[in-house]
């Protein structure tokens, strides 16, 4: 920056700093990045407004992906929902829409997430517990009953069996008379981060990626308004990574999907505009803001300059944010309301397109209606009472923020080099690179907390003897019985011949390396279950039984 600065004034400040009391805790970000006592133009050597910042809605999008940002249109307030049966979740959907939610987000139960049916022996005790159980297309129909999915945007958080769930969704949508071209929403479908962090794994890495790209390819052609993959850093961060790792690994995953899409014969501009992202919104406000801005900057650069994308929408990194689940504490849980508020602020200052705010009782169980309402209100206060939406990128230009943004982008690029050195994404996964990095960061953080270098209110600071008992939502065991009964009935009523035929067709398509969506849509209509389809595909792809440590 070409600002003339008076060095005498600076020298005086330097002296005063040296005499000032030392910080109680080491002044680093939550990821361990050391922070200076002050940031000035000196920190931004060679800073050029047009190339590093630019304008919102223009390359390199550091300041945001839309020209007017929230002044023109607020972010989507999208709260996760899902528990019990499809009918119960459908009720919760209606409840949220009535209270002002603008998009629906679906959480599935563990068996469904893992590609298992509700009657699988391993599903015992887990059906409908952490999300909705979906076994067949009939559950899908029930889940979205009387909801105009042509108008609302729907997000489905599922990975390992994403290709199957997508098929169920599309088959149901068509059956209900909706035009695929009108459907808006997202399916997470990000298998790479499962291998790094979340462990929702069924097939080995290579076929898992193939299936993910099947969804991308099919939606590019037939469901053009759908975001077929939500490239996620959230879970990587939840597993204990630093902010820089979250950024780097997520973008690296994104680049890999682009490579795979191109290998499929798609032109980059055909599918890149619909690649969306999902980041964590953690405690360290400025580090998070820098992370989001660096993400946009690095993605835009790569897409335009390396992949040669011509469509500006290919350069734009759009993201959904969720406040950090791992930061929620079970001691003094109401304090979580406050954490979530600051994290939401970070996400909004960072320019997210949609946001989920966690409920305060989320560490203990699925959130109660009261807690969910408060979480939504957090966003509404932020949007309407704080004034941060009045201008685009209000925090841009801060010496601190721009410094951190640069630093973060630099760290990400270093990680890309390391991944290349290991031979690329799949070899790096095979070598356990990502898992090791994350485990190291996670352990380092825990040591800092245990040593009281990182303070957490209520945990290692400001503790209280009594903890207030919150009303926790408990899941009725009857849910499992209901779901299994329902499933048994479907299995009795469906045509065994149709089932066998469609599963067979799916297997053959898999062997022939074709896109599986068409055959899976057929299987959906034949009332194939998620578990049955996954098993059929496993005949071709094999299973991944161990999550490599």
């Amino acid at each position: 920056m070409a600002t003339a600065m008076d060095r005498n004034l600076w020298a005086r400040w330097q002296q005063e700093i040296e005499k000032a009391p030392a910080a109680e805790q080491p002044p680093t970000t939550i990821s361990g990045v050391p922070i200076d006592p002050l940031y000035t133009p000196d920190n931004l050597d060679g800073f050029d407004y047009d190339t590093e910042l630019g304008y919102p809605g223009q390359y390199p999008y550091t300041r945001g992906v839309h020209a007017s940002m929230y002044r023109g249109r607020l972010w989507t307030m999208r709260q996760f929902a899902g528990f019990g049966t499809a009918r119960q979740t459908n009720e919760r959907f209606h409840f949220l829409v009535e209270r002002g939610q603008t998009g629906l987000s679906t959480a599935f139960d563990l068996p469904t997430l893992m590609g298992l049916d509700s009657d699988d022996p391993r599903s015992l005790g887990e059906v409908g517990r952490l999300g909705v159980a979906v076994d067949t297309i009939d559950d899908m129909r029930q889940l979205f009953a009387d909801i105009d999915i042509g108008k609302l945007s729907v997000s489905m958080t599922i990975n390992a069996p994403a290709v199957v769930i997508m098929a169920f969704y599309l088959a149901n949508a068509q059956d209900q008379g909706f035009d695929w071209k009108k459907l808006r929403g997202t399916i997470q479908n990000d298998t790479l981060k499962e291998f790094h962090a979340q462990n929702e794994i069924y097939f080995p890495p290579e076929p898992s990626v193939k299936l993910a790209i099947d969804v991308v390819e099919f939606c590019t052609r037939h469901v053009p308004q759908w975001n077929p993959v939500s490239i996620s850093g959230y879970h990587i961060r939840e597993a204990g990574s630093t902010a820089a790792q979250e950024l780097a690994f997520t973008l690296a995953d994104g680049f890999h999907y682009v490579d795979e899409g191109l290998a499929r014969g798609l032109a980059v501009d055909e599918f890149a505009p619909r690649l969306s992202f999902f980041f964590n919104a953690h405690n360290d406000l400025f580090e998070e803001v820098a992370k989001y801005r660096a993400a946009r900057l690095v993605w835009a650069d790569r897409l335009r300059n390396h992949y040669g994308a011509k469509n500006e929408n290919s350069w734009k990194l759009r993201f959904h944010a969720q406040t950090a689940g791992c930061s929620l504490q079970d001691k003094q849980p109401e304090v979580n309301l406050i954490r979530v508020a600051y994290q939401a602020l970070a996400a909004v200052l960072g320019g997210c397109q949609s946001l989920h705010t966690n409920s305060m009782d989320e560490t203990l169980a699925l959130p109660s209606e009261h807690a969910v309402t408060l979480a939504l209100r957090t966003q509404q206060v932020l949007a309407h009472e704080t004034g941060v939406t009045n201008t685009a990128d209000p925090i841009g230009g801060s010496y601190f923020v721009e410094s951190l943004t640069r630093q973060m982008a630099g760290e990400a690029r270093k990680y890309f080099e390391r991944i290349d050195e290991l031979g690329g994404m799949l070899p790096a996964i095979d070598r356990g690179f990502f898992r090791r990095e994350i485990a190291e960061a996670s352990f380092a953080y825990q040591r800092e907390v245990d040593a009281n270098h990182k303070l957490i209110v209520g945990v290692n600071a400001y503790q209280e003897a009594e903890s207030k008992q919150l009303d926790i939502l408990s899941i009725d065991q009857a849910v499992e019985t209901e779901q299994v009964d329902s499933l048994n009935k479907i299995k009795r009523d469906r045509s065994a011949a149709d089932l066998a035929r469609t599963l067979d067709a799916a297997r053959r398509a898999a062997e022939a390396d074709e896109n599986l969506l068409p055959t899976l849509v057929d299987a959906a209509r034949a009332r194939a279950t998620v578990g049955e389809v996954m098993l059929a595909l496993a005949d071709v792809y094999g299973r991944c039984d161990t999550a490599v440590v």
Binding site: R129, F443, D450, Q469, A547
Partner: protein, 136 residues
């Protein structure tokens, strides 16, 4: 050189839940504190956990659960341990356990429940105080 024999502890993730951040951090901490930690990975069935405890001659079993299935899975494991003649093995439970369920687990035979955010030194102190619980 410490003459205490190294205590063998199996850390198990049971059920479908795939969150392994906690169990990995605890593994590291225990290893750094001199324990021999056996980690058989994710998605272990109760039967597989007990087989591991038996064949590895473990002194302790730490079960990590975050999906709320503790009242189904923990009693099952305890019963299998008893059937296999492994009642001498100390059982710990870690993860998201509502306070109201803790006394129930302890009554069933769990030695201790560690909630999320338990400082690692606390776990180590507890295990050291309990001794290696070896039998002849």
């Amino acid at each position: 050189m410490d003459q205490q024999p190294n205590v063998r502890i199996v850390l198990a993730k049971v059920g479908l839940d795939g969150h392994d951040r906690g169990v990995k951090v605890v593994s590291r901490a225990l290893r750094d504190a001199g324990f021999h930690v056996i980690y058989p990975g994710l998605w272990q069935s109760p039967e597989a956990v007990v087989r591991t405890v038996a064949d590895e001659d473990a002194d302790w079993l730490g079960i990590s659960l975050l999906s709320g299935t503790h009242m189904t899975l923990v009693p099952k494991i305890l019963k299998l341990l008893a059937d296999a003649g492994l009642t001498h093995v100390g059982v710990l439970v870690g993860g998201i356990i509502p306070e109201t369920d803790i006394p129930k687990l302890l009554a069933l035979g769990v030695s201790k429940v560690f909630g999320p955010g338990t400082p690692l030194p606390e776990i180590i102190t507890y295990l050291r105080a309990e001794g290696s619980r070896t039998h002849a």
